[in-house]
Every structure is written in C-alpha cells, then in structure tokens.
Assembly symmetry: C2
Homo-oligomer: 322 residues x 2
C-alpha cells in the first residue's frame, strides 16, 4: 500500500502517520511507502518500517497536487485545512486552501486514474443552528461559518467524484477533537481542550462559555481509529451517501469539569478561570450538541462513551505526571 | 435600479428580461438599465423603456465577471448554467461554468462592494434518492448528478457570501420548468415538456418513462414571477437559510397526459409515442417527486395548482392555434 497524508504536520495527521509506522499495515495490507504533505516540513517518524517521502508545499496553488500524488497512492488521507477561526478571519485563504486545495487534489487523483480510497476529514461545522437537540442522519447542511461551508463543499465534491468513479471517497465528519495536545490552534473550539489540557499541565485555562454549554467530542485516539477504519471499509456498503457523521460523546462543559476533578483532583479544577466571551458564545451557540451517528456505528466506527476515558487517554498518551 | 441578468439568452433569462421591459419596475423602483450576459449574444428586447447593454462572454473564465458588473448592479439574476444532461457528459465544463462561473461572479460583486440582491437559480436536482414522498424543508442535499452537486455548491457559496455581508443572496430551487417553449435543450428532464409541447405543435413526442412517474413542476410564468418576487422580498425575513424550495405542482406523467387531452383533445395525445429508455428512467428515479415549499409560500412565492393551468398558459403565451 502506498499512503498519502495531507496535513501530515497537523496534530491528527501526525498521530495517524505515527500509528501507521507502528502498525506497518493498513486495510489488511503491508504499507510500502508514505508521502507526508503539509505547508511546513512534516516532522520525521522515527522507526518507520516503510519509505517516507516528505513534501512541504501549498496544495492551494494550481499544479502542486500533481507532484504530490506522482506515485499514485492507494490510500489518501486528506486532513490539510485552514481551521475554523482562521477561515473566518481570512476568507480568501480559507477558500483557497479548503476548497481549491481539495479540488486540485481530487482533480490530480482523477487524472492519475487509479481510483484510490480517499478519506476526507469533514466536520460537524457543516451543521448550523437552529437544529434539533440530536441532529439526524438526513438533516441538511446549513453551515454558519466559512469553514463549515468549505467542508460542506468538500463533501459534495467527494461524493460527486466518487459517483463518477474518479476516486473512492469516504468523508468523515469529525466531532470536536478533545483533548488536543500541544499548543492551542486558531479554532474557535480551542477552549474545550484548553480547560482540560492546561490544568493537567498546572496552568491556568480560560473558559469563555457557561458550564451548561453542550458539545460533541471524540479523542485524538478515536480520530486516528476513524481514519484507519475509513481506509478499510467496503465502499459499496456505504452507497451514494459518502459522508458520515462520526460517533462521539455529547457532554456539557460542567460534565467535562466534573470528569477533570475525578481524573486529576479538585486543585486542577481551580485553574479554570471563567471569563465569558460574547463572540465565542455566539459562535458556539451555532454548533452541534449531539448527533445521530447510527450509520457510522453500523459501519463499525466507534468512539468513547465516557469523558473520563477521554481524559485518561490524554494523560497516558501525553505522558502527563499528576 | 440597475439590473444584471446572466444567462439572458436562455429561455427563463429572456422571459425575465422581456417582462422587465414590460413592467419597467422591479422591487418597487424604476429600472434604469439592464445588462444582459450570456455565452452567445442575447437577442434584443424590443420596446424597452431603459438602457440595455448586451455582453457575450464566458463567465467561467477568470477576469470576465469584473467587466460584467462594472456598473455595480443593484439586482443580479444569475441563471447562467450548463444544464443537467450536458454537465453529466462534460464534467469539466459543468464545474467550470456552474461552480467557477458562479464563484467568479460572487467574487466580483464582493470586490465591487455594493451588496446587491443576488437571485441564484438552484434546482431540485440538489436532492437525491432515496427521499421521502414529500421532501421536507430540512432534508439534506445528496445530489446524484454533477449538475445537482454544482447547484448545491452554489447554494453554499450564496449563503456564505450573504452571511459575510458581501452580497444579499436568495437562492431559489426551481421545480422542473414545464412547458418549456422552443426546441429541446440537453436537460435529461426535457421529455416532460416535449410530451406537451410537441403534440400541441402537431408533432410526435417520445415518452421514455412510465405514466406512473411523478415529478415536480412549475410553468415559465411562475419562474419569472419567482425571479421578481425573490428580487423584492426582505432579506432579513429569510434569515441565514438563504436557499428556498420554490412551490410547484406534483403530477404524474399520466395526469399530465389527461390534462393535455382536456386542453387540446384526444388526437393530440395520440402523438405521444412510448419508447422506454432505461438510462433516462434510472436518472428520473433519483429525482424529487414532491416538495414541502412552505417556507417559500409563507414568504409569498406562488405557483400553479393545476396542470391544465400550466398547459393553457403555454398555449396562450406561445400563441398556439389548436
């Protein structure tokens, strides 16, 4: 198997590449090579059993994607994207990377004509309020951010390119990934991870929304499992509707904080400082709180069912000493 | 009011321009000028009370839209598109005209910075089977044609550009327009008009699907009324969900033929030749049969409620002698 990962220097892209090196196998077959693509140089993956090619390039520029897919990959994980906060501030950059970049990549794959499995990371940002408490599988996409609109366009392209036989796409609508390790990124949802991650590191975290805010989560571990599973499921069993809401865990900020107390003690919770931010509150009000992910579950996708599990995985994966 | 019409040489664009010349007024204000744009030269509109500029150009080429909107129109009717049949055969042309052309136009309007009302003609082709007998207002868009995917992308762009304040868009999902006058176009839905139009002209028509096929219709008159109404409604009352399923009439092919017999006699009906076409039948199976258009109706959009009315309007508008 030849694997291509775009956004390989990003948090999820990198975790996937590391896991790929550990497993050495995807979709039941040995990995022969990995191409890691990002706008910056992707960090090396130590101890990989296969050849790695690393390409630093801008997929939003015409003609670049052709060079990236020159070895005709069998599996493409397309995570490269401008995140929600940045796409909202820089309209042109968001469309250039998230729409044009995706389309250039799909076009290059179409021309290469080997019909790879393409796993496209979409987002629950494709949904916009008002919506029911639990968003159903047939609920329409009315994004309220440019990022959400761009991901919804990516979903439509993926489905159409798949229908035409140009590639074999599976779009996966990721829940908000929590706990994100490392530094905050520019996503407006960043505080959901911050209020767990910073206290665990003995640092103060700012909570800009009320404790009653409910949201939809999965861990980085689950996301990586989604990628592997999306790479191997039978496309025919998915049918024409190629974009799937991934399973997740619906939790309130209050429930997350109770989990933090159970996992790390009351002192850590005291590091959360409540500082309401009307702009973030307004954005968050437009976000999904709970989804029906029964299609994805029936196809074998699985996520955490308990927030404690998410926090404990973070503590273990990041080697945090409490 | 300065009005711009793209696709002005097309059937609906032309009918709108003619009606605009007759009325001289849109959205309660006098029309000062009209720019007619199409890939071919738009036929002149005799007796127009306002200045007309006609531009033959390719909106799918970069840099063209800027020249088209140079007089900063107040109202833009964007109907220019490659139709469903052609977009399915010529993938590149469909995306170039229907996606890139729409985006270039919206970008040019954004840069001109006068926030016009943009009426975008979308289509029920944004829906794809399986769907309920009546497609609800919150049903998701899963197009099964490239044309449908391209229109769904246009809807997302329209909503996002409107949300950002770059323009003031209203997307209208047109039913299949029936009876289309003139020659057949390359839409796969062409036979729906053909089985009425050709017999009324004393010519044979081919019916490629069974009489039980049900579909969703409005007349060209209704479409033109939709355009005028979409140009004048209060955007704030529409909210963030800028794309509206237009009202229509749900009828079976059998009911259409009964209507033809009532309006024009049994001899005309004998001109319909049944010649089943599996390809067209398969396409038609993926099309909407009935829609809930209550949002559009509550905003004042109206259509025919009786197929006889549609046929009689065609006979009158086209000056057909029976």
């Amino acid at each position: 198997m030849k694997v291509l990962v775009t956004g390989a220097a990003g948090m999820l892209g990198r975790k996937f590449c590391q896991e790929l090196a550990t497993q050495g196998v995807i979709a039941g077959q040995k990995v022969e090579s990995l191409t890691m693509v990002d706008i910056v140089e992707s960090p090396p993956i130590p101890g990989s059993p296969f050849t790695i090619r690393s390409v630093a390039c801008d997929l939003g520029s015409p003609g670049v994607a052709e060079g990236v897919i020159v070895d005709r990959p069998n599996i493409v994980l397309h995570t490269a994207a401008v995140v929600s906060g940045e796409a909202e501030v820089d309209f042109d950059k968001g469309y250039r990377i998230n729409v044009d970049g995706t389309r250039y990549l799909f076009e290059a794959l179409r021309k290469a004509n080997n019909r790879p499995r393409v796993v496209f990371t979409s987002s629950i940002a494709v949904f916009g309020a008002p919506f029911p408490e639990v968003i159903g599988e047939e609920f329409f996409l009315t994004p309220l951010t440019s990022y959400g609109a761009q991901k919804a366009i990516g979903e439509l392209l993926l489905a159409d390119y798949t229908r035409k036989g140009f590639l074999d796409g599976i779009g996966i609508r990721l829940p908000t990934i929590c706990v994100r390790p490392g530094k905050p990124n520019r996503a407006a949802s960043g505080f959901f991870s911050g209020i767990i991650r910073e206290p665990l590191n003995g640092q103060e975290a700012i909570l800009p929304v009320p404790d009653t805010v409910r949201h939809w989560f999965a861990s980085p571990r689950s996301a990586v499992r989604f990628f592997f599973h999306a790479a191997e499921i039978d496309g025919a069993s998915v049918g024409d509707r190629r974009n799937l809401s991934m399973p997740g865990l619906s939790a309130t900020v209050g429930e997350m904080i109770e989990s933090l107390e159970r996992c790390a003690g009351a002192d850590r919770v005291k590091l959360i400082r409540r500082e309401p931010d009307p702009t973030i509150m307004r954005i968050v009000e437009g976000w999904a709180r709970n989804l029906d992910a029964s299609r994805a579950r029936s196809l074998g996708f699985q996520a955490e069912t308990d927030f404690d599990e998410i926090i404990r995985a973070h503590i273990k994966d990041e080697g945090i000493k409490l």
